[in-house]
């Protein structure tokens, strides 16, 4: 087994070249990790290595490069499988991102299982990517999209949720961790309640995979999806885990090469899993790059990362709360990775503009989760989102920046 050493953030930071630059004349503080993460050198190197050696198209080639690329690609898939503890590699579908994955499920599960009058349940906390695809398929199928309300504290109201489940419910689609507020949803309980009613559950794990130990068999979720780029891997790759029993019954989503067993103009038969859901030339380079990212993460250890991030988050929340007029959203709810806040009645865009000038990258706006912003009756928030390479000193830089914002707009 891998021997753990104490978490050494200054050593870890050396692995991330993009952290060491100046922005607006100040050393960069990158606190926009929920939007996309920086990449360790190992990931960048693996892309570089791929393009200078085995670069070729996969699966159908008889030549050596193609065989090596295919092997590396399928090894990556097996690595993803082990990382989330899926039962079979064929339950791991490669997509272009979380949004692509959710569209696949909404369209393909929806085609197979939604009927007129069916119900789909999401929560009021969702990212647009886990709202709009369901709106679209519900409208097509004459199904109804139902939304779990939140408690005062911006947590999913489990009691109301339990009462919403019924024999019309076709699927529940819930985020693991809210990107806008950082709230960790009680997904295990949601899955248990849903399964008691024979309802499958899809988890949007775009943030969840980053901050939690994900074991899909332990969770017993029916689908789980995430993006490489938010989890220290390259852009352009996503994962969709799905239980075989559902994937088998779902029709293909996109069609073309790869996912085909045979084609005639009269009849086309589809390939087996996972290829049925993967068409066109896959993004081999970045899949292999994501493989390297997962290795990097495993080497540090997910437990160590979570422990450090939680410390950092606690420090961040208490530091920011110390400033008069700072209001932390969903304060007190169980949280990971995100501090979403407002400063007095200063518009988030104003605050973000000044914070950026001070070399700190935060995000402002509705974070693609407009409904929860509407619910909270705010135009958006300032969001500082953390990674395990961030430091308490960086939090303190943010603290200083907020004080300057208050002065300027006071």
């Amino acid at each position: 087994m891998y021997q753990q050493v104490a978490f050494d953030v200054s050593k870890i930071r050396k692995d991330f070249p993009a952290l060491h630059q100046e922005v607006n004349g100040k050393s960069l503080v990158y606190l926009d990790n929920a939007a996309t993460s920086q990449k360790p050198q190992a990931v960048i190197d693996s892309i570089l290595k791929y393009y200078t050696t085995i670069n070729s198209n996969v699966h159908r080639g008889v030549h050596s490069l193609s065989r090596q690329a295919t092997e590396a690609f399928e090894e990556a898939r097996k690595h993803f499988q082990r990382f989330i503890n899926a039962e079979h590699a064929r339950e791991v579908i490669i997509t272009k991102g979380a949004t692509d994955s959710i569209n696949l499920v909404a369209h393909s599960f929806g085609s197979a299982y939604l009927k007129e009058g069916s119900e789909v349940i999401i929560s009021a906390l969702e990212h647009h990517a886990n709202i709009v695809p369901w709106q679209v398929i519900c409208e097509q199928k004459g199904a109804r999209l139902r939304v779990i309300p939140l408690t005062e504290n911006s947590e999913i109201d489990l009691e109301v949720f339990a009462s919403m489940l019924n024999e019309k419910t076709a699927i529940v689609a819930i985020g693991h961790i809210s990107n806008a507020l950082g709230v960790i949803n009680p997904v295990k309980e949601i899955i248990r309640l849903s399964h008691n009613n024979n309802v499958p559950v899809m988890i949007d794990g775009a943030q969840g995979i980053v901050h939690e130990n994900v074991d899909v068999q332990d969770l017993d979720c029916d689908f789980y999806c995430f993006s490489s780029h938010k989890f220290y891997g390259p852009m352009g790759v996503g994962i969709l885990y799905g239980k075989e029993k559902f994937l088998e019954k779902m029709p293909p989503y996109q069609t073309g090469g790869e996912m085909i067993e045979s084609v005639t103009f009269d009849k086309t038969t589809y390939n087996e899993l996972p290829f049925k859901f993967e068409t066109g030339t896959p993004n081999v380079a970045d899949v292999i790059g994501f493989d390297a990212a997962i290795s990097y993460i495993e080497n540090i250890g997910m437990e160590e990362i979570m422990a450090y991030e939680n410390e950092l988050l606690a420090h961040g929340i208490s530091t920011l709360k110390n400033i008069d007029g700072v209001r932390i959203l969903a304060d007190g709810a169980p949280k990971a990775g995100v501090i979403s806040f407002l400063i007095d009645d200063i518009h988030p865009f104003d605050a973000g503009t000044i914070i950026d000038k001070l070399g700190i990258a935060v995000r402002t706006g509705h974070h693609c989760a407009q409904p929860v912003m509407d619910l909270l009756k705010i135009p958006g928030s300032v969001r500082a989102s953390l990674a395990f390479y961030n430091t308490t000193e960086e939090i303190d830089r943010l603290h200083e920046a907020i004080k300057i914002v208050k002065q300027m707009f006071g």
Binding site: H347, T353, K357, G365, P379, M408
Partner: protein, 144 residues
């Protein structure tokens, strides 16, 4: 003052600031001093889309000149619209249509010009020029 003269004046004003913080403090002041738009204009119809903050812009014709009024829920945005109003308001439509916008670059607010959708300066200018086009067309039409 012509469009160019107003623009030149603003470039000179901004030229006095050595650092970004003074510049933004000035923008914030200008934002606070923006003559507010009539509440009745604060609706969907006058909202400029493509901004992270909300911006409402109205335009009217007075003696052959276009008069702009605006508001925003963010102060910096207000300051920026105020700049634009100082340059473009009370000008004949064709001058607005033909106006050179390089002064924005010169005063060091280029970052607000970037092609992001979070950032409405381009949309504001586009909308102002659009109003000018509409008024110009109307002026040419024989009154019914």
């Amino acid at each position: 003052m012509t469009v160019n003269e107003s623009a030149q004046k603003i470039v000179e004003e901004f030229g006095m600031f050595d650092d970004w913080m003074d510049k933004y403090n000035y923008l914030i002041d200008m934002g606070k001093s923006l003559p507010l738009i009539d509440e009745k204009f604060k609706n969907e119809k006058y909202l400029i889309s493509g901004c992270q903050s909300r911006v409402w812009l109205s335009a009217e014709m007075e003696d052959g000149e276009v008069v702009f009024k605006a508001d925003s829920d963010a102060v910096i945005t207000k300051g920026i619209v105020n700049l634009l109003i100082r340059v473009f308001s009370h000008q004949p439509p064709e001058d607005i249509i033909d106006a050179d916008i390089s002064f924005i670059d010169k005063i060091g607010l280029k970052e607000h010009l970037s092609p992001t959708r979070s950032n409405g300066l381009m949309s504001m200018i586009k909308q102002m020029k659009l109003y000018a086009v509409v008024f110009k067309t109307k002026m040419k039409e024989p009154s019914a």
